[in-house]
Symmetry: C2
Subunit: 334 residues, 2 copies
């Protein structure tokens, strides 16, 4: 293990040239004769030379690694983001370093470490809720930062977001057009920015359409399957039953399905269900779930491209909020 590794100096010695020439020959573009270059390349290959990326990064002040900070990574949404970010960054010659900040390791701590370590050239941060400390930390701008966040209050960084508010209104509108008047709503976590906006969209569109919101039909959820199930159980204890349940995300919608099945309700005949996110399984539930498709691939791609443009100095514009599209996917659940 870790056998004495050969370096540029060794190659230089064998090729009878200076290390500068070796460096130039290996890096490609500079002025080196064909003969010297091929001689050096040959030796490098024979010795199975691999450049010390650490040394290179150190002197260049650039690692070509971007950091991706996540609240938690066992969620499907996050793993799709990881994939998308990694794909995109790799195409531009970057590696992706995933840092999860859940557990006792706080988000702010992770951001601070990564900001200053010089290990990453830029940072993509997935934010589920935002407070002043986080905003301040993200804005301290040693390196470029892009946030993927529902909260779009501008800081010293770019934001990629989903139009939660409008999409939520679209949902209500769609339900209304289908003839539903009695809509229950299962909310997400109270601090979650996406959840807040989805809830607001729900309320506002109901008001606009003059749909009365029954307070007993607004349930607290936590974006988990179990949360959705429990909320639905609670909902069904009311005397009056809604015609349709709008779950603020698909995971909770799956919880709805379970609760409804256990309580003997048929979807969509007895009660309809509609979700938000379009996770992988939604299409394969029985019945397939009607939901809002959040395009995580685009989300990750936008974030990465923006970040790399910032890193390379190709984008020096003011910090922006970029909104990724959503789409109502109509299936069979309502």
């Amino acid at each position: 293990m870790l056998s004495k590794s050969i370096n540029i100096k060794e190659i230089a010695k064998r090729a009878n040239v200076s290390i500068a020439t070796v460096s130039r020959a290996l890096s490609g573009n500079n002025n080196v004769t064909k003969e010297t270059r091929s001689k050096i390349l040959k030796i490098a290959h024979e010795l199975n030379y691999k450049p010390n990326l650490l040394a290179r990064s150190f002197v260049k002040g650039k690692t070509n690694i971007i950091g991706l900070i996540l609240p938690d990574i066992s969620d499907e949404f996050f793993s799709e983001i990881i994939k998308s970010v990694d794909d995109t960054s790799y195409q531009d010659g970057y590696f992706t370093m995933v840092i999860s900040s859940h557990g006792n390791r706080s988000l702010v701590e992770s951001i601070n470490t990564m900001m200053n370590s010089r290990i990453v050239d830029g940072l993509i941060v997935l934010l589920s809720s935002v407070n002043d400390e986080i905003k301040r930390t993200l804005s301290s701008h040693r390196i470029p930062v892009v946030a993927i966040s529902g909260d779009t209050s501008i800081g010293n960084y770019d934001i990629i977001t989903v139009d939660n508010y409008k999409s939520s209104r679209d949902v209500v509108n769609y339900l209304f057009k289908k003839g539903y008047k009695k809509i229950a709503y299962i909310n997400g976590p109270s601090e979650n920015s996406d959840a807040i906006l989805r809830h607001k969209g729900f309320c506002d569109e109901c008001k606009k359409l003059k749909l009365t919101i029954n307070p007993a039909w607004i349930l607290n959820g936590d974006f988990t399957l179990l949360g959705g199930e429990e909320a639905t159980n609670q909902l069904l204890q009311n005397k009056e039953r809604p015609e349709v349940i709008f779950a603020a995300n698909d995971m909770m919608a799956v919880g709805c399905y379970n609760s409804l099945a256990k309580n003997g309700y048929k979807i969509p005949d007895d009660i309809g269900v509609i979700g938000f996110d379009d996770i992988l399984i939604s299409e394969y539930l029985t019945p397939p779930l009607t939901t809002i498709k959040v395009d995580t691939e685009t989300l990750g791609k936008f974030a990465t491209e923006k970040l790399i443009d910032r890193i390379n100095g190709n984008d020096t514009s003011k910090h922006q909020v970029i909104t990724a599209n959503t789409e109502l996917v109509i299936r069979k659940s309502c």
Copy 2:
């Protein structure tokens, strides 16, 4: 952005000491007077000094980053591994760098790059299939390597594995005890080592129990939901119907569910289904899926602990194959 960052030299100047003393004071353990230490710490804090981890790693020849190479990372199985690896490594003071090797970027290429870049101190590689080139590359041992793999033919690296073979036999045995005699099997990808062993376990246990294997009931699958659905469709075209379908993974079992529902079969009354993996949704399908639980958390934890022990030189034993436990989770699908 990237404002001139302060370094140890700057602190030394202000504190009127040498950079060596600053380094010692900041790194904690060495011989420094209380007064000098606190003076240096105070100045460092005032200047908001953050050590250049890149420089440190460079001189120490150690980055405290472990690399995690995945075939593809949009899969739930992988995201659980990521989480587990990241959690475990963080507790030991390591960061995790995720590298996906799907698409045009080959696995061997990723391994080679990471092996020699000095960016990672060790490598965890998720292997779905193994060939000689991969084995050779992994064995070239510049840094310690741990493979999470179904294929346990030993190379110059540790292997963490799941007992696919035995678990698969357990499944057949369980079905047999429940009175099932006619078992169909949906296979995984032909090169996938896990799939190969699961299939072998199925066949061997059937033989042992003298269950006749109907060749028309052995279907090719690809571990995807759609693959499972198509295989089931095909299966149902036979005149004779099996009593139960053993899907080599849960994703395909979900596909079974869909096909059976569409074709008007009730689970488990008309046909039973059993899976392998116990993914998140399995518990919440209707009916809940009976399956083999693969403990991904333990898998990732074992791999990480082994790797870090190797990196630190705390483990110089011969390379091992460590098998993580599985468990038959009995639910309602058969």
